[in-house]
């Protein structure tokens, strides 16, 4: 199952690197994330490690508040971003991590002494400080010291802000002519504070809150959280409910992947392709609306089942329409993939190796595009995936083109899964008698699912109250973003949009609770003085 209770392996803080290295030797080669916990006097750290073939280990250590723990970057290269996150949220430092001086998710103006996820931090008070008149939170990234790259280099702020471009995040590109010397990501523009908010709402309301982490993989957030809570409750959803969940999850995957394919067209300046793909996608939006009643935030999952049944007539129409969609989609994608121009623009762009993908703990299609069949639906089947017949689509080249191939292949697999679900929907009543309003007994559990962008991980801890004690979300984009920054180096400005979007970034997911537009700041980021200096040079 894609969910389970947590059995901790204990360690002393100073032994952490050694313990991690031992676990890695035992096959736990994938660092899912690092969860921080407020344990009263100390901060608990849980390192969640996974085996590529299945199985999760949880290594726990307690560190004094405001203290220091050794960094794990020697064992897992990708660990630094999770350490930065814990540093932001709990004020803990990691010795040996070179990025401890910077914020990852929080704005630079965030008060130093009140890490948001400590229990005694009051969001209202923080809010007052953050939004006090006169506080300026938008600060430019470090653009001084450009000369260390080369005398001709200029810093180009790359702040996505286009609507068709889902959302904004900021990269400062150091370019020389058209060539990129370095890319400095700054995330956190979409930080809203969802993990904190989840601790203050009841379990039922949390489902709706967590769905709104992201509008594209919305259902997977609700589902993953629900799976973890059901594990804590020792509850199992009826089989029909599991099938309906799977149905909506796969429809969501199709919608997400087709949206991405359209955006690939948009990003390469091929707007006609964007329009064509999005037109085809409307069929799927209709189906999602038909099944769940909503187009974007499906809100169909609830603790112990689903919120509404999908009756025979609706199922029949789903089956009919998905077949029509399959025809349209295959024809369209066949046309696109055979365009010389498309191949030239995507093939070999943003290439990365399987080594990089593994070392940076990437997930989802990004990982599968280099031939690593890491898919939670197979590794730890959840919902109805154990009963369904599907194969994991992999690529072999690790560039934009193979990612397009992988995602297109996954859409076709998802279509077949939807057909199977329509044909084999088990009978029964999937809707619980009343919504879950109770208390969850103390404990901790995790759940992971294969969201459209890759492995989505939720950790839920209960202290026996109406609302969870801690909810931790590790979204696929956070795991993949460093790969994008890595792949940007040496590319040209023409390819930036494609390379950044190759991981199908979902920044509101990543910043969980964060969402912002860098577009605004984009042309103010260089200071007046910088302009004058550059102008003289030119």
């Amino acid at each position: 199952m894609g969910a389970g209770k947590i059995e901790r392996i204990e360690a002393e803080p100073r032994e952490l690197p050694a313990a991690l290295s031992r676990l890695r030797g035992e096959g736990y080669s994938h660092l899912i994330t690092i969860t921080g916990l407020d344990e009263g006097d100390s901060i608990g750290l849980i390192y969640h490690l996974a085996r590529p073939g299945g199985g999760v280990a949880h290594l726990h250590a307690s560190v004094a508040k405001g203290g220091e723990a050794p960094s794990a970057i020697g064992v897992f290269r990708g660990a630094y971003i999770y350490e930065m996150e814990v540093h932001d949220m709990f004020g803990l430092r990691f010795s040996g991590n070179p990025h401890m001086g910077r914020r990852l998710l929080l704005p630079d103006c965030y008060p130093e002494d009140e890490p948001p996820l400590l229990k005694d931090t009051d969001p209202g008070r923080v809010r007052e400080k953050l939004f006090a008149p006169g506080t300026v939170c938008l600060q430019g990234p470090p653009v001084s010291g450009l000369s260390r790259y080369s005398p001709e280099s200029i810093a180009v702020p790359f702040g996505p802000y286009h609507p068709a471009f889902k959302e904004p995040e900021h990269f400062t590109l150091i370019v020389e002519g058209e060539r990129i010397l370095d890319a400095i990501p700054r995330i956190g523009f979409v930080h809203r504070g969802v993990e904190k908010a989840a601790e203050q709402r009841s379990y039922l309301r949390d489902i709706f809150l967590l769905e709104r982490i992201c509008g594209i993989c919305s259902m997977h957030h609700g589902l993953t959280f629900t799976l973890a809570v059901e594990k804590l409750l020792g509850l199992e959803a009826p089989e029909r409910a599991e099938y309906i969940r799977t149905l909506v999850a796969e429809l969501e995957r199709i919608h997400s992947h087709t949206l991405w394919l359209g955006l690939v067209g948009y990003w390469m300046g091929f707007e006609t392709m964007f329009m064509w793909v999005l037109t085809v996608r409307e069929t799927i939006m209709d189906l999602i609306e038909l099944v769940s009643g909503n187009r974007v935030h499906k809100s169909i999952v609830t603790i112990g089942g689903v919120r509404r049944d999908v009756e025979g007539e609706k199922l029949r129409r789903v089956g009919e329409k998905i077949r029509g969609f399959e025809k349209e989609f295959s024809r369209l994608i066949g046309d696109i993939l055979s365009l010389d121009e498309f191949i030239e623009r995507t093939s070999g762009i943003g290439s990365y190796t399987a080594e990089d993908a593994r070392a940076l703990s990437t997930v989802g299609p990004v990982r599968r595009a280099v031939g690593d069949p890491y898919d939670i639906r197979k590794v730890e089947p959840y919902c109805a995936y154990g009963d369904l017949d599907f194969k994991v689509v992999t690529g072999d080249r690790g560039d934009v083109y193979s990612l397009v191939q992988v995602r297109a292949g996954e859409v076709l697999e998802s279509i077949h899964m939807v057909e199977q679900i329509v044909d084999h929907m088990p009978p029964g009543n999937p809707v619980p008698k009343r919504p879950f309003m109770g208390v969850v007994k103390p404990g901790e559990a995790y759940a992971r699912t294969e969201a459209p962008r890759g492995e989505l991980f939720h950790y839920v801890r209960s202290a026996g109250k109406h609302s969870p004690d801690r909810v931790k979300v590790r979204t696929p984009t956070l795991a993949n973003i460093m790969l994008a920054a890595h792949a940007l180096r040496g590319q040209t400005v023409s390819d930036v949009p494609l390379v950044i979007t190759m991981i199908d970034p979902c920044f509101s997911c990543m910043d969980r609770v964060l969402v912002a537009d860098a577009g605004s700041g984009r042309r103010r980021i260089l200071t007046e003085a910088d302009f004058h200096r550059m102008r003289r040079r030119w």
């Binding site: 180009v156 286009h162 390469m268 300046g269 329009m275 121009e341 623009r345 040209t492 023409s494 007046e528």
Partner: protein
């Protein structure tokens, strides 16, 4: 040709006013055509079938507030958009749109066009340079690179036309085509190369690098608003008219067609406009089905693919001269 006729040619027909109105119409044709390719409807409610949409856009920009960013070079900021719009309007004044000779007619006007070309690019580059932001800087840089790449092709195709006809004026070109039929029959490769170069000149996909919005916002136009933007927009539309008019005049026989000269030149003008619209529709259609090239691929695409074409065409032209 007296002064009054020249002024009329420059300001009314086929110069400024005609070019302006055609420019608006061209934008409408393009938007509708692209929309249809993308399975949309396009502008619909502005005038019959939305035909007034570009005019509404222009008028709106004229009456909007103008917000020049701090630290602009005032002179260039005001002057450049006007120059950019003036270049194609002036260029059109030389084009023989109708047998009713209203265009400015000089012995070397065809050669003069080449100068106007570079002048138009200079005006655009100046517009970008007037404001200094990273996007305008990159936009202007790309513009100049692109210009240097396509201009070689455009100039050599025009030279080939001159080589075959021995003409240095539009009058000479049209007279040659009246005798021997449209030049497109002899120089199909040259025509193809010229159309691709036109795509690049008009900054249409796949050659819209200088204002690639996904990469560098609006390129050299990023910081313009209000009137300046209105003129830059109309300059683009008018360049489209000018560019198509050149191709029509050089390769497609200009105003020649059945009933040439009837109704005091009205029929010729109708022929010319119809051919122009056809050329531009073809350009817009190609553009709507293409993605943007990468900067590195630009020279490769244009030179690598087109220079051989132009060279073969050159051999054909030389052979023709030798034979005839």
């Amino acid at each position: 040709m007296d002064g009054a006729t020249a002024v009329f040619a420059a300001l009314v027909f086929p110069g400024l006013l005609f070019t302006f109105l055609m420019g608006l119409f061209f934008e409408y044709v393009e938007r509708k055509l692209v929309a249809r390719v993308q399975r949309r409807i396009g502008p619909l409610y502005a005038g019959p079938g939305g035909v007034l949409q570009p005019l509404y856009d222009f008028v709106k920009l004229l009456v909007k507030e103008e917000l020049p960013p701090e630290g602009v070079d005032r002179l260039y900021y005001w002057l450049a958009p006007l120059l950019a719009a003036a270049a194609p309007a002036y260029g059109m004044a030389f084009i023989p749109v109708s047998s009713f000779r209203l265009s400015i007619d000089t012995p070397y006007d065809y050669v003069f066009t080449l100068f106007l070309f570079s002048f138009a690019v200079f005006a655009t580059a100046a517009a970008g340079y007037a404001v200094y932001s990273p996007y305008t800087a990159m936009g202007v840089g790309r513009l100049v690179v692109q210009y240097s790449v396509y201009e070689a092709i455009f100039a050599s195709t025009l030279a080939l036309a001159s080589l075959q006809t021995g003409a240095t004026s539009f009058r000479g070109l049209i007279e040659y085509q009246a005798l021997h039929g449209p030049l497109a029959l002899y120089q199909p490769l040259g025509l193809a190369a010229a159309v691709v170069a036109l795509l690049a000149k008009l900054e249409k996909t796949p050659f819209d690098l200088p204002h690639a919005k996904q990469e560098i916002v609006a390129g050299w136009m990023t910081e313009y608003s209000g009137r300046g933007l209105a003129f830059l927009h109309i300059a683009k539309d008018m360049s489209a008219v000018w560019g198509s008019a050149l191709i029509v005049a050089v390769y497609l026989g200009g105003p020649l067609g059945p009933l040439y000269g009837a109704l005091g030149g009205l029929v010729d003008a109708a022929w010319f406009v119809a051919k122009m619209v056809a050329v531009y529709a073809a350009v817009a259609f190609i553009s709507s089905l293409a993605g943007r090239v990468r900067v590195r691929g630009l020279a490769e695409k244009i030179w690598g693919a087109l220079l051989p074409l132009v060279f073969v065409q050159f051999l054909v032209v030389v052979a023709l001269r030798w034979l005839v």
